[in-house]
Amino acid sequence: VSALESAAPLAAAVAGGRLTARDAAERSLAAIAERDPDLGAFLVVAGARARDEADAVDAAVRAGRAPGILAGVPVAVKDNLCVRDLPTTAGSRILDGFRPLYDATVVTRLRAAGAVLVGKTNLDEFAMGSSNENIAFRVARNPHDAARVPGGSSGGSAAAVAAGLVPLALGSDTGGSVRQPAAFCGVYGLKPTYGRVSRYGLIAFASSLDQVGGFARDLEGLALLYRAIAGEDPLDATSAARAVDPVDAAAGARGLRVGVAAGLLDRPGVDPAIAARLRERAAALEAAGCVLSTVELPDPDLAVAAYYLLATAEASSNLARYDGVRFGARLPGDTVGAMMRRTRTAGFGPEVKRRILLGTYVLSAGYRDATYLKAQEARRVLARRFGELFAAVDLLLLPTTPTTAFRIGEKRDDPVAMYLSDVFTVYANLIGAPALSVPAGTDAQGLPIGLQLLAPSWREDLLFRAAGPLERAA
């Protein structure tokens, strides 16, 4: 494993003085310069800043100070996370030129842990999308097949880690936006429990669903990333005042009760190769001492329908702030109303407009009861049913996605088909639970397959324990 692929040995080498953070940063920046023109994973590369940060880590090591658990590890963050004075666009023209006045808490924590920020990654506009095709700036491609999408919305972060440009990256997951691209690109993708990781400085999409998550090429690296970012933040009122339990993939899976969502595998549109791989890896869990049972999950169509009504309703309200007054782009107008209309019409792309209009519709008088309130009821029913499931099993095993990475353009003109690529990931967001996409080899075409573990809220430790045998099986 090269130093850029695995965070834990890299951090140990930097902390032990066997590798400088500056060397690690230079390798990452050189890999980005070589590969990213074709890959499109980055929107901003912050070379000078990365070199300064790396030199500070090296100075700490030389001075005998503890350099942090991610000492010298090059990281990338999705471009909907604010980094002070670096362009932060959320992939939207309406934020073209915007430079935040402050760092997101997760960025502050990464730096405190010794990580070196090398750049900001590509995404669907305002994290709305499943393919990284809703873009204002540049196409992102899947490192396994350049004709295919990396997934979305955190497609750039997944592609950057999969291509070995950085060992770790941050994304955000509102309906699967970390786990789905992780599955498509063949890396680990963690969505922590709602409230576990601060969202201060995350550009809001749907506030009852959004969570910051991370990507890594191995569980050891992912555990370090999680440790660095998890925990209460006084700057985020939704962050929980709870101790963060240690996570350790080597802790052993013996005795864990795993519910296998076998019924989902027979659903139309589920790739048989993914179904077969899930059954195979379930057997690996059993061999590791897990106790398997078959469970019936609530109707995934119900979850997707509820998700898209709730997420768009919240988005229509969150995106009202982009009006050309306080930050971002502005188009001129004779009156403030005309200025705002022109700015928003030109600044938002088609998918964002679709979601704002849908969300405004579902919140409007006369339609609210049959749409938004029904979706809230469905969310409560889902929470209750998952609560019942988690009384009988410790965690659930299901596919991350129904298919492997699709072709660029394949689903662009069919929003419902695109939304259904999130069919197995929205559960976790609706119930607030943590979930992890684990790479599970490839299909006959060499495209990565991802399997998903879903645990009760605050039990990220169970995800890592169960993922251990799956990592060894891969």
Partner: protein, 88 residues
């Protein structure tokens, strides 16, 4: 948002398809006792304990910094076109 005729047509088609799909919520059985919609959203949720900060005044952004990113400013104030006018 402004949409031209073609934009309206496309939006009607897309939103219609999404809402037709979502109509399954109205056919589903959603009865039964309810659980909180999301962790942290229920004031009784133990996880949320302490989520209200102490009411202490903290320094905010100075006006000059707060307007730094604004597309139009005037003496540390946000400047916008007239509120009233022919199009208002």
């Amino acid at each position: 948002l402004e949409l031209d005729d073609a934009g309206v047509e496309a939006m009607v088609r897309d939103l219609g398809a999404i809402l037709a799909y979502a109509d399954l919520l109205n056919r589903a059985d959603l009865s039964g006792p309810v659980a909180p919609a999301a962790p942290g959203s229920d004031p009784g949720d133990a996880a949320s304990a302490g989520r209200l900060r102490d009411d202490i005044v903290r320094p905010g952004l100075p006006p000059g910094a707060a307007t730094r990113e604004a597309p139009g400013t005037d003496h540390d104030l946000f400047r916008v076109p007239p509120v009233l006018g022919p199009e208002a």
